[in-house]
């Protein structure tokens, strides 16, 4: 290998050891900011503070017929690594291939289910066919189908590994599932990564207990259309999306609730102005959009009529803990 290439890879390896930014964010929060004459004060946590106040006092329209009382939002993030109400992430990989950084964390449909998502790419790059590593955990899930998985040992614990089908163009894909403790199932899934099975096993065998990480649900639902229940959710920052929650369907399709950091362009058609959460929003063919706090936008879309989406949006509580800047984003 040439000296120049070695230098590049050495710097990359050193950069992979970068800290996660918790301390820097805490210092920014504590640092005094002299107000300027040109712009209003915008500290790092101004968004979260405003959202927390709004969520506690619920100044928006709350329907008297809502089906459930929104849960009180978690306390503002301080130095507590696991905020109240957050789902613990009890395990973390101690090794990942070079160049992978964490982009999203999420919750599954069942209580206690969590997942983490890394990709080898520039942090704000969107689309394409990235190399991806995901890790999931939670209560015991169904055993993998016997004919698709082979037994493996993960640090003395039973596990199973399945490889992607080359015939289906998934030969750089592998999944490892194992049970590190009674009632706990973990899985690692690698996509488009060379030597996928070796990489997946190395990641799995590097996994170690953690007592600090967590993930919070970005939204708490008040009223939901009939038969629809809260499903999975994600937080992070991918292509401008800060958080998203997908409801699980009852008799029909589910709905998607998103919080994004950019103005949502109106879909084709004739957007109809509506009042949502005390603000002017728009409704257009199953899509409801409204600006919320400090440059973020709420978007709800799915097969429901305008009144249903407005009622859902009005009773929705945005969790400031899940939608503030995430210190783990872009780190390993």
């Amino acid at each position: 290998m040439s000296t120049e290439k070695l230098i590049v890879e050495a710097f990359e390896r050193q950069a992979d050891r970068a800290p996660d930014g918790h301390r820097v964010l805490a210092a920014l929060r504590a640092a005094p900011v002299r107000p300027t004459r040109k712009l209003p004060r915008t500290g790092v946590f101004a968004l979260a503070t405003a959202a927390a106040v709004a969520a506690v006092s619920v100044p928006f329209i709350v329907s008297g017929n809502r089906e459930a009382t929104p849960a009180a939002p978690p306390a503002p993030w301080a130095n507590n690594p696991r905020p109240p109400g957050a789902t613990p992430i009890d395990y973390r990989p101690a090794w990942l291939p070079e160049g992978f950084t964490e982009q999203r964390r999420g919750l599954g449909e069942s209580p206690g289910e969590w997942n983490r998502y890394w990709r080898r790419d520039a942090p704000m790059s969107c689309g394409g066919r990235p190399e991806v590593v995901t890790m999931s955990g939670g209560p015991m899930g169904p055993f993998p189908a016997a004919d698709s998985y082979k037994p493996v040992d993960i640090n003395g614990h039973p596990g199973q590994i399945a490889l992607g089908s080359a015939a289906e163009g998934r030969d750089h894909e592998a999944s490892v599932v194992w049970w590190p403790a009674p009632g706990t199932q973990l899985s690692v899934h690698v996509v488009r990564v060379k030597s996928a099975s070796e990489v997946a096993l190395t990641i799995a065998r590097s996994v170690t207990p953690d007592d600090q990480m967590s993930v919070s649900a970005p939204f708490t639902f008040g009223w939901l259309p009939g038969g629809v229940r809260p499903g999975s959710s994600d937080v992070g920052n991918l292509c401008g999306e800060l958080a998203a929650h997908h409801t699980a369907p009852g008799p029909g399709k589910g709905l998607t609730v998103q919080l994004v950091d950019h103005e949502v362009e109106a879909s084709a058609g004739s957007p109809e102005p509506v009042t949502v959460r005390g603000r002017q929003g728009t409704y257009n063919r199953g899509e409801l959009v409204v600006a919320v706090e400090d440059g973020t936008w709420l978007r709800i879309l799915g097969p429901a009529d305008k009144d249903a989406l407005v009622r859902m949006a009005d009773s929705l509580v945005i969790n400031p803990e899940a939608t503030r800047p995430q210190p783990w984003f872009g780190t390993r």
């Binding site: 290998m1 000296t3 120049e4 070695l6 230098i7 590049v8 890879e9 050495a10 710097f11 990359e12 390896r13 050193q14 950069a15 992979d16 050891r17 970068a18 800290p19 930014g21 301390r23 820097v24 964010l25 210092a27 920014l28 640092a31 900011v33 002299r34 300027t36 040109k38 712009l39 915008t42 500290g43 790092v44 946590f45 101004a46 968004l47 101690a94 090794w95 950084t101 520039a122 942090p123 704000m124 190395t202 590097s206 920052n237 950091d261 400090d294 440059g295 800047p325 995430q326 210190p327 984003f329 872009g330 780190t331």
Partner: protein, 180 residues
């Protein structure tokens, strides 16, 4: 190459800027300083200054480039302040000792060896190499970042590369020499 992403100009708040850029700044500073803790201190001090001046910095064409310059120069001046007031193991010694432990796979390979050699370089030579090989900047852009001439940049780079190659040659094992 890993130049901090150069996006089109749009109005962003400081918290949005930090959300998007903090991981990249920490990665660059860690590569530059060869010390994650020092990198964190440098980035923290810089971003506190940036927060105070955000009204002006946010109007620049590419704020990221300006902040990267601040991080680079903060690090270069930081070393001068710290070296006169602290007594500790030389950073390159600590770094060499830690590399074998840092890799969970237990393989202290040629990349770690190169990293140890980079850590032993004088700070400005390493800064030039980090800007060239980690950030992918041209020598003209490096000169602008460091506030020096293009010729000075080339001089630092040349001496650094010569030192890295010489160190590699000196690391050849006696067994290889005997065979040669």
């Amino acid at each position: 190459m890993h130049a901090l992403a150069e996006e089109g100009v749009r109005s962003v708040s400081f918290d949005q800027f930090v959300t998007a850029r903090l991981p990249a700044f920490l990665r660059y500073a860690t590569a530059l300083a060869c010390d994650p803790h020092l990198a964190e201190d440098v980035v923290q001090d810089v971003l506190i200054k940036v927060q105070r001046r955000w009204a002006r910095i946010s109007t620049l064409d590419v704020p990221e480039t300006y902040v990267r310059r601040m991080i680079t120069n903060e690090y270069l001046s930081w070393r001068r302040r710290k070296s006169s007031s602290t007594v500790s193991l030389p950073p390159d010694e600590l770094t060499r000792a830690s590399y074998a432990l840092a890799d969970p796979s237990g393989q202290y390979d040629e990349r770690d060896e190169m990293l140890a050699r980079l850590a032993a370089l004088p700070r400005k030579q390493r800064a030039v190499l980090a800007l060239r090989y980690y950030c992918g900047l041209s020598d003209v852009e490096i000169a602008d970042t460091l506030g020096c001439s293009h010729g000075t940049v080339r001089g630092h780079a040349s001496r650094a590369l010569a030192a890295l190659r010489q160190t590699a040659a000196n690391d050849v094992t006696p067994t290889v020499r005997e065979i040669g």
